[in-house]
Amino acid sequence: MLLEMRDICKNYPQGREVVKILKHVDLTIDQGDYLAIMGPSGSGKTTLMNLIGCLDVPTSGTYRLDGEDVSKASENRLADVRNSTLGFVFQSFYLLPKLSARENVALPLLYAGVKKRERLRRAEEALKMVGLGERIDFMPNQLSGGQQQRVAIARAMINRPKLLLADEPTGALDTASGRQVMDLFDELNENGATIVLITHEPKVGARARRLRRILDGALLPEEGSENDGEA
């Protein structure tokens, strides 16, 4: 089991009220899974993604990631976990505009303490893997949206993360580019990557091998569980 959430709650203060964003969430993900979490906006799926991604800690409950209880880990420890265990793909790419594609991809390795030459070599490799081997020295504004998202995916994969987290990865893309990005996810998953995809688009969610719906802060029971066993 790569990831195990038990009875996770997340509350946010809002004025004098306390808003319960997540209510008693249980979730397990195994190595090699490809899970989509679907829900309308305001359902709590982004909060759940932040918790899975160790960008936030739960109000209560336990969260074990790769054998480690991270529900009460320190800020520095969470940063290290994000760096070594997780890879992030965001809706709006978040590439640094002043860095080339290769430098953007190499950035997580800087925080992992990898030497510069090695960083750039591995970044080039990762860019080739996402089909951008010809554009390693392009600046983000010289790339199309789909290409930028593929650079972001290369950046997410550069540290060989245990878990790839994608938050509406096709939300800012046209249909054709979106399909390419989804094809890339399929390919990564076939090569062994564990992927959690957060989306509100049924078409995108349908590409995943498992699907969980979230509504009003609660995860609904899994439908048509085709992949319950160990991967």
């Binding site: 932040n50 991604g53 960008l55 936030d56 800020e75 520095n76 940063a79 290290d80 994000r82 760096n83 070594s84 992030f88 965001f90 978040y94 640094l96 002043k98 950035l107 997580p108 800087l110 925080y111 992992a112 510069k116 950046r155 540290n159």
Partner: protein, 421 residues
């Protein structure tokens, strides 16, 4: 670290105009400080140089009464002050960093005259020992100096300084001529002159006496052993000490004062206000330097205020930068940058910004002080320690004023930071 620095320079280069305007406060502040310091140093160096050149580090210690030099020409030797003994002189010569020690007696004479001639002279007559000319910084320009035999045989020989020579003999050579002092004939054997003339600050009558009072008509020197021939045996003498370096002069002067006052002056004479007083050129230099430093220190404070304003400008721009780059910070945190790394990134950027400002300010300051020096004819000297301090200090300003923006950046919550558009 290196990564941060190169990123910082990229960031600064990426906003050339903004960075330059931000630096401007630092540039102006550092430039004015460098200008002021260069002017101070230039003036002080000039003062020191002209004094070192003139005095060859000579400290003169003379008997004084109630603060002004005691002139035996009027009142004769005072009671209760004994002549300096060989032992005391040896003790003075043994003080730290004393190169030479010399005894001398001095009186004004009014009736010296050239034998077989018409010229007469009034001025200062010095009885000197064999070390005097070296210690006081005289150079021989004609004839010879005093020989050991002159002292041993009490030969009646005299040496003139340039002024006395020209008053008595005009342009003719005085060597071999005979001079009559208080009825005694002295054969002139040589002419000496001060190694160089300095500029002195004349603030008291005593200063005037020390540097100009006895030199209007020049000086005549005779061997100290001959002094009783023209005056008396028991006259207290003055001492000239040559210091190894200019910086030792004040201390040597004070030690000699204490030693001589303690050994030569009786309790009664001390009661009457007798004491040995030193007047060294460093003290003179310090007086002048103090004067110019006092005004310049106020200028330095004002320049410091412009640095403060510059620092606040840097803080302001760094806060704007942090806000502008919120998403960058959020992303970096999301992919694993620790708090400390973000903190360092922004501190480095602020420090790089102000350091560049400091370096540009130093360049501008050096240029400006050169320009002022040549335009107004005032001295200026580049002080390398001041430059190093200025650059380090401007870096420190960046760290201090960059701290609040950097802490703000480091404390950003990655979720909020990423959500902000």
């Amino acid at each position: 670290m290196f990564e941060n620095i190169s990123l910082a320079f990229q960031g600064i280069w990426g906003h050339k105009l903004r960075s330059f305007l931000t630096m401007l406060g630092i540039i102006i502040g550092i430039a004015s400080i460098i200008t002021i310091v260069s002017t101070i140093k230039g003036t002080n160096d000039q003062i020191k140089e002209s004094l070192i050149g003139s005095g060859t580090n000579a400290v003169t210690v003379q008997l004084s009464q109630s603060g002004s030099a005691y002139d035996m020409s009027w009142q004769g030797p005072p009671a209760g002050v004994t002549p300096v003994s060989e032992e005391t002189l040896a003790e003075l010569a043994g003080l730290d960093n004393v190169v030479a020690a010399s005894l001398f007696s001095v009186r004004q004479v009014y009736d010296a005259a050239v034998c077989y001639g018409s010229a007469s002279w009034s001025g200062y007559l010095y009885g000197v020992d064999e070390n005097y000319f070296a210690a006081a910084g005289y150079r021989r320009t004609a004839g010879r100096g005093f020989l050991p035999e002159d002292f041993a045989a009490f030969r009646k020989v005299a040496i003139l300084d340039g002024t006395a020579a020209s008053v008595l003999f005009g342009s003719a050579s005085p060597v071999g001529e005979v001079l009559e002092v208080r009825g005694e004939p002295f054969t002139v054997v040589g002419v000496v002159d001060r190694a160089a003339a300095g500029q002195f600050a004349i603030e008291t009558y005593r200063d005037y006496e020390m540097y100009y009072g006895d030199s209007s008509n020049g000086r005549v020197f005779i061997p100290l052993g001959d002094w009783p021939i023209v005056y008396r045996f028991d006259e207290p003498q003055g001492v000239i000490l040559k210091a190894a370096s200019t910086d030792d002069m004040t201390r040597i002067g004070q030690q000699a004062e204490d030693l001589l006052t303690a050994s030569q002056i009786s309790a009664d004479a001390a009661q009457d206000g007798f004491a040995y007083q030193s007047d060294d050129l460093m003290e003179q230099a310090a007086k002048i330097q103090e004067l110019s430093n006092a005004t310049n220190n106020q200028l330095l404070w004002i320049a410091g205020i412009s640095l403060l304003v510059g620092g606040i400008g840097v803080m302001n721009i760094m806060l704007v930068t942090v806000t502008e780059r919120t998403r960058e910070i959020g992303l970096k945190k999301a992919i694993g940058a620790r708090k400390r790394r973000i903190l360092w990134q922004f501190l480095t950027e602020a420090a790089a910004l102000t350091s560049i400002g400091g370096i540009l300010g130093v360049a501008a300051g050096v240029g400006l002080s050169r320009f002022i020096a040549s335009a107004m004819g005032t001295p200026s000297a580049v002080s390398y320690p001041a430059i190093a301090v200025a650059v380090l200090f401007s870096m420190l300003i960046g760290v201090i004023f960059g701290m609040i923006p950097a802490v703000k950046a480091a404390n950003l919550n990655p979720i909020d930071a990423l959500r902000r558009e």
